[in-house]
Each structure stands twice: as C-alpha cells, then as structure tokens.
Symmetry: C5
C-alpha cells in the first residue's frame, strides 16, 4: 500500500491551513497518500491524529490548530500540546504541531499572513523530514528559523 502522511485541522480556525498543508505535501511527497481529517477545535487534535495513524498507518501527521485569546484557550492549547506530544511518543511517528494564536496580530490581514506562512513552512519541514530523514534540518540547526515570521538568524 502507498505510504501516507496525515493532515488534521479544525473548523475553529479562521484560515484554511489544512488546505495549504495538503497542497505542500502533495507537491513535495508525490509518492504518498495524503489523508485529511477535520475536527472542531484544538483539544480534538491529539485523538484525531491517533485515530488517523491507527486507521491509515501514516508515517507522519501535521496538525493545524487555532487558539483563541481567552485564558481558557491558553489552557486548551497546553492540554492539546501535551496530548500531541503523547501521541508522538506512544506511536513513534512524526507529528508537526502548527499553531496560530488569535492574539498574535490585531490586523486580520496580518494574522492570515502568519497562518499561511506558518502552515506552508511547517508542511515543508515535514516534507524534508519524511523525504530525507531526521538529519534533514541539521544544516539549519541553531539558525533562528521562524514560521509565521521572518527568520531571526543566529546570534
């Protein structure tokens, strides 16, 4: 069976980051099936990632979450982050966890730019890790790369 990579996104998000990830993955990993699941919000991401891996045996998953500006949303972000790490540790698969925080920018246009850039760059990170293995990014280690913002460079 064709190898696969998963995409999990949410209906809470205000930018179609999942669609962007699918495009980058299809272009970068032509030999792979791309499987996409959608859930309501960030707290649903870890369970969905786990089910996607169990059902399709994907080598890697990219999750795309959107975090509101309230204190409760921040705790949801923390719970979701712990959950995604747990799935990654228990399954041994790569999970790239892309998150946009609604309070990163007041200007909706800027916020959208952040989301688009972050989803795209992290999907490219996943392509590199899946194609070239765990040393794919080593030449950029410590280089101050950013997703959603310009790279800040090494000190």
């Amino acid at each position: 069976m064709k190898r696969c990579v998963g995409v999990v996104d949410t209906t809470f998000a205000r930018v179609d980051m999942g669609g962007i990830a699918v495009e980058v993955l299809q272009r970068g990993l032509p030999g792979y099936r791309i499987v996409r699941h959608t859930v309501p919000g960030i707290k649903d991401l870890p369970g969905a990632a786990k089910r996607l891996i169990d059902a399709h045996g994907c080598d890697a998953v990219i999750t795309l979450g959107w975090v509101g500006g309230r204190e409760a949303d921040k705790y949801s972000y923390l719970a979701s982050s712990i959950g995604l790490i747990l799935v990654e540790v228990l399954t041994g698969r790569i999970i790239i966890d892309v998150t946009v925080h609604e309070d990163e920018a007041k200007d909706p246009k800027r916020l959208k730019e952040i989301a688009v850039d972050r989803a795209r760059k992290h999907a490219e990170n996943l392509v590199a890790l899946v194609k070239e293995g765990p040393t794919a990014l080593t030449s950029m280690a410590g280089k101050g790369l950013r997703q959603g913002y310009p790279d800040v460079g090494p000190l």
Copy 2:
C-alpha cells in the same frame, strides 16, 4: 448489539447540557443506544468517560463540563482537558469535550444561551463525525465556526 454513544455530564453544571446532548444524539443517531453517566464535577469526566467506554463499548462520547470562575477551577479545567485527551488517545474513540466557563458571561440568561448553543452544536458535530466519518467536517475547515457564539467566519 446496537452500537452506542456516551454522554457524561455533571451535577456542578447550571444548565442541563447532558439532556440537550441526549436529545440531539437520539434524533441524529436513531440506530444507536445513547448511554448517559453523571458525575459531580469536571475532574470526574475523564474517568467516567473511560468507564463508560469500557462498559458499553461506545464508539464516541460527549462530555459536558462547567468551570467555575476561581483560579483553582481553571487548573481543574486544565487537568480535566488533559485527562479527556488521554482517554481519547488510549481508547481510540472520539471524545468531544464541551465546556462552559462561568465567567464567559455575567448575565445568567446569556450564560445559559451559551451553554445550550454549545451543547447542541457540539452534539451535532458528534453526530456528523459518527455518521459520516472523519471527513464530515472538512468542508467547514478553517471557516471560523464557533459553539456558544455566532460563527466568526474565515479571514
């Protein structure tokens, strides 16, 4: 045996969100048994969801929690959220975790509206995911859907 979906709610809540979820699930999933458990508060939800899945083999569970306004309640919310994600990851079943925070609105009538709307919409999300599978919500990915509030739409 008939397939089942679980509902777990609390006596701490000030709105009968569990009852609303049961109604939506019975209407939307006529072929399913709906099993309802009730616990004192949010920290009891993960254990109850796990026992309900173990005892009845439910495909999915919706939990309905109510969070007080004190700092300790927020930490209880965080612990509960982590626990529900843990159950979802360990069992592979869908858990939709619906939560109302007492400080979301000062007006009791408004707070009740939030709770009713959120319970209903998330129960509908669960119906869709159970009936149509994990791509049921993909056409709405990134659309800024909200539960308890009007949708905010995509950027």
Copy 3:
C-alpha cells in the same frame, strides 16, 4: 472477600476530612470494607490511591486534599489533579477527588465548615455512585450542586 472502598487523606490538611469520609462511607455502605491510608500532602495522593487499589482491589477511592495559598501549592494541586485522573483512567475505578484550598476563606471557622461540608457531600456522592451505579446522580445533572457551599441551582 468483602468489597472495599478506599479513603486517602493527608497530614497537611487542617481538618480531619478523612475521618468524616470514613463515617459517611461506613454508614452508607455497610457491606463494604473501608480502607484508609494517610500521606503527607496532596502530591502523594495519586500514588497512594493506586497502591490502595492494587493492594485491596477497592471499587472506588475518595481522596481528601488541602492546598496551601502559595503559587507553588497551586502547581502542586494541578500535578495532583492530573495524577488522580491518570489513576482513575488507568485502573477504571471511581476516584472522587475532594480538595479544600486554604484561601477559600480567611475565617478559620468558615474554612472548617467548607472542609466538613465538602468531605461529607462528596462521600455521599461516592456512596450513591457505588450503590446505584453511574446514573445515580443523573436526576441532579445540571442542577448547580456545590460541595462546601450552598447549591447555586440551575439557571
């Protein structure tokens, strides 16, 4: 062997909540052995609950914790809460986690009243869940019940 219910309390607490729980459980569950363990503080509760379940096979456990007023105590509360949920999820047994926060009241007499009322009411919750099963509290779902304070009622 006689079925059993466990009680775990602490020497840090300033009210003998464990003793109150034992009384309520003995009266409400005459057919059960009541096993009581005591540990220094809240972070010791999850491990003790797990050992008590392993050693005695108890159906359910009530833990009674007392949280100091410092920031570090709040983090201890969070860690303890996550741990108790973990034990409940891993063992499938009911754990009712009763907690009093030292800063809930400035007046020592009031604080003691909160602790006594909360321990008693939650022990009664446990009696109901053990005797009547997971629908014992369903008639009170969404009714705004409180432990340590008067019920606030439904909205």
Copy 4:
C-alpha cells in the same frame, strides 16, 4: 537481597538535602540498603527515580529538589511534579517528593533551615511509611503538619 530505599538529589540545590535524607534513612531503616543517585536539576528527578527503582528494586524513593525563582523554574517544578507522580503510579512504589523553592525566604540562613527541616521531616515520613505501612501517619491525619515550617495544627 537486602531491601532498599532510594535517594535522588541535585547539584542545583544549595543545601545537601540528600545527605540529610541518607542519614535519617540509615538510622531509621537499619535493615535497608540506601542507594543515592544525583542529577543536575529537578526535571531530571523522575527519570532518575525510575532508573533507580528499575536497577535496585527499591521499595521507596525520596527525591530532593530545589526550585529557582523565575517563572520558567515554576513550570519546571510543575513538569517534575507530574513526572514523579507518573513514576509513582506506574511503579506502585512510594515516592516522597521534597521541594524547596528559592523564594520561600530571602534570608539564606532561613532558607537553609527550611531545607534542612523539610528534608529531615520528610525522610522521617518515609521511614514511618516503609516500617509501619500506609496507616503509619493516620493518627496525624488532618493535624496541619508542615515540613520546613512549624506545624500549624488542626482548625
């Protein structure tokens, strides 16, 4: 083989709490081997406790951590606390987690007194639990015992 109790401490700490614990344990548990491991900081305690239990089969472990005053240190404390509870739950062994927070006192002499008293009293707690079992502390339940400070007594 002689039964054993473990001690895990850190090079980050500013008081030799591990040494104090070893002394109390040797005096109180003459029939036991006392095994001591040392790690850099608090986040290393859970892994070291687990390895010590795996390697030596110790019945119980006391860990002695020192937490800095920065926000990041508090999060490290939380992660460490969750980890130690996880080890206790997974192994079924007693772990007494002793922690001093650098901001508990401004005066270095007072801070040292807190650390010495807390390490000693908690090592004594461990001796009692190991020698007499899980009811060793029940006569002191709810008595407002403190470690590092004078007991505050029951309300």
Copy 5:
C-alpha cells in the same frame, strides 16, 4: 554495535547548541557513536528523542531547546518538559534537557554566552553520568551548581 548517545536540537534556536554538545560528547565519550537529529522547535523534542532511542538504542540523549518570550512559548516549554520526562520514564534512558529562554538576557551577546555555557556544562554532565554512572555527580550534590551562569555555591 558501538554504544551511542543522542543529540536533538532545533532550527528555532539562535545558537548552535547541538554542535557544542556534539563536540563535548565526542571528546568525552570516544567509544560512543554520537547521533544527531534536528527538529523545528521545542515541542518536537520529545518525539524526536523517542524515535532516536528506538532507532539507535542510545543509552542517553541530550536535547537542546530555545524558548521564545511569549506566554504561548512558556506553555510550549511546559508541554515539552513534560514530554521529555515522559520519554525518560518510559524508556529508562537518561535525557538531559537543556533549555535557554530568550528572555534570560536582553543583550544578544550575553544570551549567546548563556546558551554556550549551558550546552557545554550539561553535555559534560551527560558525559559524567554515562561514564561513571548515577553517582558521578554525588560529590557535587547540594553545591549550587548552575549552567549558563556562575555556580552560586551552597548556603
């Protein structure tokens, strides 16, 4: 097969801490293979450490993370810390978790010094623990050692 030690670092970091760790490990552990993986950010460290251990059977891993100054970054730090402890507990291998917080210093030069010193000293800690075992650091227990800053000494 030659025994191995792992290094996991990030492209988010602004100093090549992974490179520093590799140098110290190669010099201090000449009989070991040093395997280096690189991931985008701190939340990717636990999964990468787990995969590195699974793939290469390394005895120990050093992870090198860089934490931004926003509140969300602090929660990412907490999730990552919990995840690394989880990997350490589940695998029984030593994981030394080195972290620099961007807000530790305003001066970039000072921040770089902190990162270099911390990576180097913690790599040396790992060399000692791997070569001499879990008592390697016991003579320094309670001595107030610091990484990234001068030692503060015992009280």
